[in-house]
């Protein structure tokens, strides 16, 4: 599967996802500026992304813990904002578009 990620300067990156990996891990390993300070524990909100072009609705809804943690994220956009450590790569997400949120 592919992830289409736009960084903070508006540059688009197409990166190969891996089944079972989180989108955060893929973006971080691809060198995108994802802080992910807590390492994927849904505990810091520094892997915040906007999920674009109708992909938000195709994801399983955020857990209560993620909704809570998003309260600590900056520039949250309801209906777009997710923590990328909580999005797991899967074939049905092939082509998912995300934008790295501002820090």
């Amino acid at each position: 599967m592919k992830i289409v990620a736009t960084d903070r300067v508006g540059k688009e990156h197409v990166v190969e996802g891996r089944d079972g990996w989180s989108v955060m891990e893929i973006l971080r390993d691809a060198g995108l500026p994802i802080a992910a300070e807590c390492g994927g524990a849904c505990a810091c909100a520094t892997c915040h992304v906007y999920v674009e072009d109708g992909w938000y609705e195709k994801l399983s809804p955020p857990s209560d813990a993620e909704v809570d943690m998003l309260d600590m994220a900056l520039a949250v956009e309801p209906g777009r904002s997710r923590l990328s450590c909580q999005i797991v790569c899967a074939d049905e997400l092939d082509g998912i578009k995300v934008t790295v949120a501002p820090e």
């Binding site: 810091c44 520094t46 600590m72 900056l74």
Partner: protein, 348 residues
């Protein structure tokens, strides 16, 4: 300014690795002072995930971040380390006699032959909302402009205050400042809060009595007058409709994030915000300055707590030779050495 503190080792960072460094240094009779910007020990373990279990600490099948910190504190208690919490290590200077002077933003000065940087990713600092030009309104004095913490509540009396955020700090300060404020408005991106339920209830009561105004909205821009005084913000509501809101002070509460901070200006070699070290001593390219834990980098580095523990042990051996150049280091085991057991305060 007070007289500088003289010690063997100044440690920057009181996270798990800084704490364990006290143990390894302590076994070699080296005394430590620790500086941490947080107001308590534990670093990321207690700031980010105090309740989350950690499963990869050798010998502890499951331990929370808080528990690990508590256990480390117990383990290092015999060594009497001194802590300087709520202080940021802000400058590092080499003295003519070869020792280092570490200065904090609170004016504390620590002089030591060895400095150990165990600062993780750097300093925890408040998250700054990505609102263009917001920096210009920071540090404008008590009660006015942008503040990420409340030091003196009284300075906010009779002010028009805007608070942004939905966690405990946002709600606690909404509740505490509402009785003093001329007006208090809370904005958050949803009509729900991460905060404790009793705080949410209290906020709702204040809203019902008109003491607090709450909007599902976010701050889009900030506006000042010609003297740089904050005057208003533009808010954007759930329906994307924007409006101006006049304020004296804006308090964003989105928790903390990690920035490298002043360590970047210590004159050390840095590689992508990490300090390259050798793997025999975990010393930086500047003699006497060591880096252990998440802040260092070397071939094969893994950012694991257990790696940091190992690094602390090797660092301590090298630090001994700097602090006690004329003494021979005797390598001993805690299991068998009555000398070490005495230091630990246990009966042989």
């Amino acid at each position: 300014m007070s007289t500088p503190i003289e010690t063997d080792v100044a440690i920057i960072g009181a996270g798990p690795i800084g704490l364990f460094a006290v143990f390894e240094l302590g076994l070699l009779d080296l005394k430590c002072h620790l500086v941490d910007i947080l107001d308590r020990p534990g670093g990321q373990c207690t700031e980010l995930y105090p309740e989350k279990p950690i499963y990869d600490i050798p010998g502890l099948p499951i331990v929370t971040g808080q528990d690990l910190t508590n256990r480390l504190l117990e383990q290092i208690k015999p060594f009497g380390a001194q802590y300087h919490f709520g202080e940021m290590a802000s400058a590092l200077e080499k003295l003519p006699d070869g020792k280092w002077k570490l200065t904090t933003d609170a004016g504390t000065e620590i002089v030591a032959p060895v400095v150990v940087i165990a600062a993780g990713g750097g300093s925890f600092v408040p998250k700054r909302p990505p609102v263009p030009g917001i920096e210009a309104f920071e540090n404008k004095g008590d009660g006015v402009g942008v503040h990420y913490a409340v030091r003196k509540m009284e300075s906010f009396r009779d002010k028009n205050i805007l608070i942004a955020g939905g966690g405990d700090s946002a709600l606690d300060w909404t509740i505490n400042l509402a009785p003093l404020a001329k007006s208090l408005t809370l904005v958050h991106h949803r009509d729900g809060f991460r905060a404790a339920q009793h705080s949410v209830n209290q906020m709702r009561e204040l809203e019902a009595t008109g003491k607090v105004k709450f909007h599902v909205a976010s701050v889009k821009s900030v506006h000042g007058d010609e003297n740089g005084r904050l005057m208003a913000v533009t808010l954007s509501g759930a329906d994307k409709k924007e409006w101006m809101h006049e304020i004296d002070s804006f308090l964003p509460f989105f928790g903390l994030t990690i920035k490298l901070g002043p360590i970047a200006d210590f004159g050390l070699n840095l590689h992508e915000n990490l300090i390259p070290v050798d793997t025999a001593k975990f010393e930086s390219s500047t003699p006497g300055i060591f880096a252990i834990g998440d802040i260092n980098t070397y071939a094969g580095k893994l950012k694991l707590i257990l790696s940091g523990f190992h690094e602390a042990a090797l660092m301590a051996q090298a630090a001994f030779h700097i602090c006690r150049p004329n003494e021979k280091l005797r390598f001993q085991y805690t299991t068998s050495s009555s000398n070490l057991q005495k230091k630990l305060g246990v009966n042989a």
